[in-house]
Amino acid sequence: MTSKVKSILIIVGILCSISAIYFVIINSNFQKNHNEILYDLQNLKNLDNKLDKDILLIRTGTIRHYDYLDNGFIEIEKSLNKLNVLFVNDSIKSTNIKKLQSRLSEKIKSKEAMVNTLKSNIGVLHNSFMYYSNESHRLSTHFHMLDSEQLSNELKWIISTELPLFNTLIINLLSNPTSSDKTSFSRRIQFFNSKINNVKEEIFNKKLRILILHLEVIFERNYLVDAALNEISNNSLIEVIDKIQLDYLNLFEENQKKISSYQNLIYILSLILVFYCLKLLWKQLSTLREMKEIAVHLGYQKQALDEHAIVSITDENGIISEVNKHFCETFGIKRKDIIGQNHHLIKSNYHTNGFYKDIWETITTGKVWRGEIKDKNNDGELVWLDQTIVPFLDAKDVIYQYVSIGTDITSRKKIEQDIEFQAYHDALTELPNRRLLMDRLEQMSSLCQLHNHFGGLLFIDLDRFKTINDSLGHKIGDKLLIHVSERLSSCIGIEGTVARLGGDEFVVLLPEVNDDINSVTLELQNKADEIIRKIREPYLIEDHVLYTSASIGITLFPDTTQSSDCLKNADIALYKAKDAGRDCFKFFDASMQEAAEVRLLLENDLRDALLKNEFKMFFQPQYDCENTLIGAELLLRWEHHEKGLISPQMFIPIAEETGIIIKIGTWVMEHGFKKIKYWNDHYPEPSTLKRIAINVSPMQFMQTDFINVVIRLLKETEVDPLRVELEITEGMLFVNIDETIEKIKQLQSLGLSFSIDDFGTGYSSLSYLNRMPIEKLKIDQSFVRDLHLNNNNETIVQTIIFMAKNLGMNVIAEGVETKEELDALNAMGCNNYQGYYFNRPMSEDDFEKLLNID
């Protein structure tokens, strides 16, 4: 049955009930009214009856006053008014009854008028009657008191016969109105009247005439009284009342029939509805039974679920409204503590915010979320849950709660992680195994390819490990391997990967070392050196002091496409190292190997170069815009006894790395100062020549005794400090700003001057530059190159010049090679230059010639 039909039935039922109540009320009113109407009609009849009775009593003289008569009418009127009201209440609209009612009212009114007439007539009648009877008696008494002789016969006759006769006639007239002979009474009066004329006695005559008058009144009024009574009796109210009653009862019966048919209809409808309701009730009961069964089953399921799963229920905002016992046990939280909170209480930091956002987005769109979440319990231990979150929608499709069901999968996760770890790691050292290594190698290769960098792969094998293993046993051997792996790990740090391939074979993977193959080679070489040194250190294992060494094969990647080849190449290099007598490293690539060897040679030769006096000073002259020599930059050249001139790019990094640079730096300063002193003393230097600039390497500058060294050299050479300019690089300024500033200031106080070399290439923090007591900036030659063609460089140079001028610094451009560059710089306000446009760096002798020319 559709809900529409149901609601219609319900409405019909309610209407039936209301109409039933209505009918009951109406019916009881109706019955009450009916009762009262019948009573009133009967009362009207009774009142009329009583009125008639009273009229009769008055007529007969039984009652001698009229007080009750009017009360009768008042009561009739009251009763009639009540009847009218009752009829109105009963909503009786029968015109017939209305007509009868108004007829009744009229009748009552006319009856009242009749009664009033009757009353006055009876009054007059009684008045005359009483007068007559008393006066006739008085007259006869008076008569008898007189002397009868003197009275006329007529009077005697009248007194003795006529007056008594009339008394009888009157009584007859009054007592028996119908049978009396009215005409004879009237004739008798006429006869009496005629007799009176003969009465000579004046007093009697007059009195008799009055009596006759009264007799006439009696006759006349008696007739009127009779007529009025007749009229009253003919106009009985009862007849009309009966008609009203009859009409009303007919109407009532009709209404009753109607009502009872309505009642029957409602009764039938009610019965149908009762049956329908019983059916519904039955249905409801059976539904209830089914639901109970379902509830029991659900109860079992819930019990089972609670045993198995961690259940929590939250409202639409994620506020927890219910958790089961399992939840509390798992998280070690009391139920009362978690209710009203949200899940942040058990949230671990394992997942990213995005993870939680994803969950929230899924469930807030009404979708079920399934997945694994890592939470933490009250003690901070992590708990893995396999979780299902189900959003529940209300009738309007709005989410009102979420039910989350989860199972604790922490142990499984742990096993999974263990298995995964074991799959990718070596069981003994817990270092990545070959599989993981290959993975990483692949990743790094692609990364390096992407970034155009090089990484290094070091294949390490312990020398004579088999001997240790065999002599001291596997246990010791394993422990040694663990120690080795620890040392390797500490060497490499977190950047690289140390993997054990098995046995005593380890692989170190160094990611994205550098983009310059030479630098890479150098770094790898250093790393390999470090490893070899570390491995070489003694091991204390179970009271044994053990020594071992490592042979390393190095290869770069990506230099071949196949990464497996990479490992193979390293292996090949390793065998080379083994062949070379162990405890050393070999590069797979021949050129690299060669470079490494050259480096090694150079390093050795560099130490001897100072002793062999192989370093030569060259000078790069500096000019102003008027092409006047204003100074020079001292440059160092190494003339190898075998290999000839070696560029500073080659040997300076080695010198810096090996620390030889400090000695070289000191040598340069010493010889530079001497040369300046010499020129100053022996040559007529042009006034324009101010200072000779000497480069100071960072390492040298950062030596704590640098100032002392400078002071000593200044004293020894006796050079004029005002002629010396020290060139430092940008990077040095910002290592330890305060200390650097202090050092520069001290040296400046001696008269020395400072300039910044290669300005613009480093990471100068311009905000610090104003704190630097620097006299001069050297614009790097890379900006000067094609300055006039390159807007970007032009802007940079312009900025540097502008800034330097604002800070009160001089500017000099290096690497000026063309006239255009010079003009552009000149136009920008840079007035000092050096570069091939003027001179190439020149030897001491050539510079001396230049000085002589000037």
């Binding site: 019916n27 009229y66 007080d67 008058l213 519904l280």
Partner: protein, 347 residues
């Protein structure tokens, strides 16, 4: 829903039962005492046509008090000058002792003011019997342009504005001050204006010594001459209409016939009612001079002689008239325990 149905069923049953009950008990109700006519009052007094005035009348004392105030309140007239009590002075026999009362314009009215005493026992009020009830009479006089000359729209706000009336009316009548309640209060007061315990009433109640022999003689003449035919009942009249001048035409004798002289004709418009008046009550007749509707007679004796001529067609011996007058004076009753009296000056 099922509840509805159950209620429905129960109601239906109740309805049926009620109907059955009524059908079964109705005849009993009709034919038992329930519908019988009120028992007629039995007479404990002398079997005379005149009945004594009841010593007390049962009324709501609060309404009487309120009505008294209204009765004496000139606010009930348009110009706030005329109270009911102006023409119906309770100390002076319930009228004003004038042939014709003074209107609100200060002019003589059209007709003699009847006494307000015992008016409750009159079957109609006023000379012409225009009003069945005291309420209707009071309302007519309030509106009468010569008397109150007011309207309900004017009067009710005046009364409502009065704190005493507002409070008192509301304490007595739930509906407060309305036409119905104002009239009811006045009428209730007027109903309280009865004058019981006249010497004649005492006689009627069996005290033979209450009236003298001469007075008894007077009553005998009253009956013998037929006066009693009209002047009977509690009020010794006041309960029927009668033509004025049965045996002689008073109005042609008097002349100057005015509309007020037509009497009941003015009410019914029927020729037979011309010169017909309500028979006046003779209660306190000794103190309510002047007499007749036109107030033309200022002494009772003259009036008795007058009535003999016009209503009996004869003259009475002086001795009879004196005795009749003596009798009539025994009808003077008491109001609030005080015998009524007539203003000496007017006598």
């Amino acid at each position: 829903m099922s509840v509805c149905i159950i209620i429905n069923g129960i109601l239906y049953m109740l309805m049926r039962l009620t109907y059955l009950f009524i059908v079964l008990t109705f005849p009993l109700l009709v034919f038992s005492g329930g519908i019988s006519s009120p028992a007629s009052t039995t007479n404990h007094y002398k079997n005379e046509p005149i009945l004594p005035i009841p010593l007390t009348i049962s009324l709501d004392a609060r309404k009487v008090k309120l009505g008294e105030r209204l009765f004496n309140d000139p606010q009930l007239s348009h110009n706030n000058l005329l109270a009911c009590s102006n023409c119906h002075q309770l100390l002076l026999g319930g009228d004003d002792g004038l042939a014709r009362s003074i209107t609100n314009q200060g002019k003589p009215d059209l007709i003699n003011a009847p006494t307000v005493f015992n008016s409750v026992y009159n079957f109609r009020q006023t000379w012409r019997g225009a009003f069945r009830t005291l309420e209707l009479q009071a309302e007519a006089d309030l509106k009468n342009p010569r008397h109150g000359a007011t309207t309900w729209d004017e009067l009710l706000p005046k009364l409502i504005a009065n704190v005493y009336y507002k409070k008192t009316f509301h304490s007595i009548y739930p509906e407060g001050i309305t036409r119905k309640t104002v009239l009811n209060a006045i009428a209730t007061f007027e109903k309280s204006l009865i004058t019981p315990n006249s010497r004649f009433d005492q006689y009627l109640r069996g005290d033979e010594s209450a009236i003298t022999n001469d007075e008894k003689k007077g009553y005998l003449y009253f009956k013998q001459y037929g006066c009693i035919a009209c002047h009977q009942g509690v009020n010794v009249g006041g309960n029927l209409f009668q033509k004025f001048g049965l045996f002689a035409d008073y109005f042609s004798v008097r002349g100057n016939i005015k509309k007020a002289d037509y009497g009941r004709f003015n009410v019914t418009g029927e020729e037979k009612d011309r010169f017909v008046f309500r028979v006046p009550s003779l209660r306190n007749v000794g103190v309510t001079a002047p007499y007749l509707h036109d107030g033309s007679l200022d002494s009772l004796r003259k009036t008795i002689e007058f009535m003999a001529i016009y209503q009996l067609g004869t003259t009475l011996p002086d001795e009879h008239v004196i005795k009749l007058e003596l009798f009539l004076n025994t009808l003077t009753g008491e109001y609030k325990g005080q015998s009524l009296f007539m203003k000496e000056a007017l006598r």
